[in-house]
Every structure is written in C-alpha cells, then in structure tokens.
C-alpha cells in the first residue's frame, strides 16, 4: 500500500471517528439521548468506530515509531507488530460487541 493511501485512510478514519465517536459519547453520557443505545444503528456505529479508531491509532503509532527508529528493517518489524496488535484488539473488541448487543 502506498504511503499516500495509508495517510488518506488515516484522515478518512479520523472523520469516521469524529462522527461515530460523538454518537458513542452522547449516547453514553447525556440522559436525554440514552435511547440511542437501544437502536439497531448503535452497535453498527460502534463496530465502525472500533475499526476506524484501531486503524487510526495503529497507523499513528507506526508513524511516530518509524520516525524515532528509522530503517527499512525496523519499519517492517514495527508495521507487523502494530498490525498484529490492531487485529487482536479488533477481534476481541468485536467479540465484546457481540456479547453486549447480541446476547452471545
């Protein structure tokens, strides 16, 4: 994947986080909006939020680490580790979503 594509995705996920994150915060903290949590769209929005925030976070960490430890081999190691961490948290987060909203 080209670097420009990775960064474009970084900004796109940033926008998705803004929208779905605002929904998550409002639905969990403001009493008059608590009803959002019982709609069908809420877990879908949470799923998108989970994926977007994990991509944004792992790519952001990759960018900082690759600048602190430059080199083609360290770049590959950093990317691989962060992809694995991201996938682990996405899968477990998704599982928690299913438990909380699907009654599994």
């Amino acid at each position: 994947m080209k670097e420009s594509t990775k960064m474009l995705l970084h900004y796109v996920t940033g926008f998705l986080i803004l929208v779905t994150g605002a929904i998550h915060l409002i639905a969990n903290n403001l009493e008059r909006f608590l009803w959002i949590k019982s709609t069908l769209w809420y877990p879908i929005s949470l799923g998108i939020f989970l994926g977007a925030v994990l991509y944004h976070a792992m790519n952001g960490l990759r960018v900082v680490l690759v600048e602190l430890f430059p080199g083609s081999s360290s770049g590959k190691v950093i990317s691989t580790i962060l992809v694995i961490v991201g996938v682990i948290f996405f899968v477990s987060g998704f599982y928690f979503l299913l438990v909380l909203f699907g009654g599994w």
Partner: protein, 142 residues
Amino acid sequence: MSRRENKQGILGWLKLRGYSIEKLMYVAQRISGVGIIIFLLSHILNVGLVYAVTGELWEPPGLIGKAVLVMLGIIVVFHTFNGIRLVLAEYGFIVGKPKRAVYPYKMTSLSGGQRLAVYLVLIAFIIILYFWIMVAFDLLGW
C-alpha cells in the same frame, strides 16, 4: 575526515522558542495521540472484561477518576480539532497560494487562513472542553 553526529533526537521536539505556534501544536498532537491510545486499549479491555460481567465500568477511585476524565477530555478534544485543522492544511486548502517572495517575507502558511484555523481550534477546544467537564461532573441537565 572525522565528524561528530549532531542529531537532536527527541529533544529536538522540545525546542519551541523562536518558532511558530504550529510547532507546539505538532508536539501536543503527538503526545495527546499517545495518551488516547493508552486510554483506548485499556477501555476496550475494561468494557469487555469488567463491564460485560458486572454492568459497571472500572474507574480509578474517587478524585483520581474525575481527574482522569478531565485529562481525557483535554487530550481528546484537542486532538480532534487540531486533527481537522491538519487535514485541511495537509491537503493544501488553507496554506495559501504560491506568490512571489518579496522582502519582508510573509509566509502564507503561517498567516491567513491557516493561522485563523489555529485560533478557531483553540476557541472550539475551550468551548467543547467546557461542556465535557460539565457533563463529567453531572452539572449539565441533559
């Protein structure tokens, strides 16, 4: 020919005197980003392992819990609004047009639309952080 390496390393990020406010915001964006990641990963585990079992999120006790909430507000709100400014700048929307360099030089990327965006980010940060803190301390009737 012998030479001596002269790289500042990460201390180069802390040299802020004499540079524009954008350099400070760059450092703040990085630090807030790392802070949010720490919260994020612990929050996912918190929800899945504590909330799913007990119905309540684990919180640090008493005042520390409230302090964490306020800190979280500061870093999330700043990172969000500064991020919006950065996307606009990095795709060339607010950095200004190329023009002839005539003395005394005025850099359009440090003035005009981009500098206005910096002030808007700071204003939006204060306003939204105010609401965040009000909600965190249950002072808002919503």
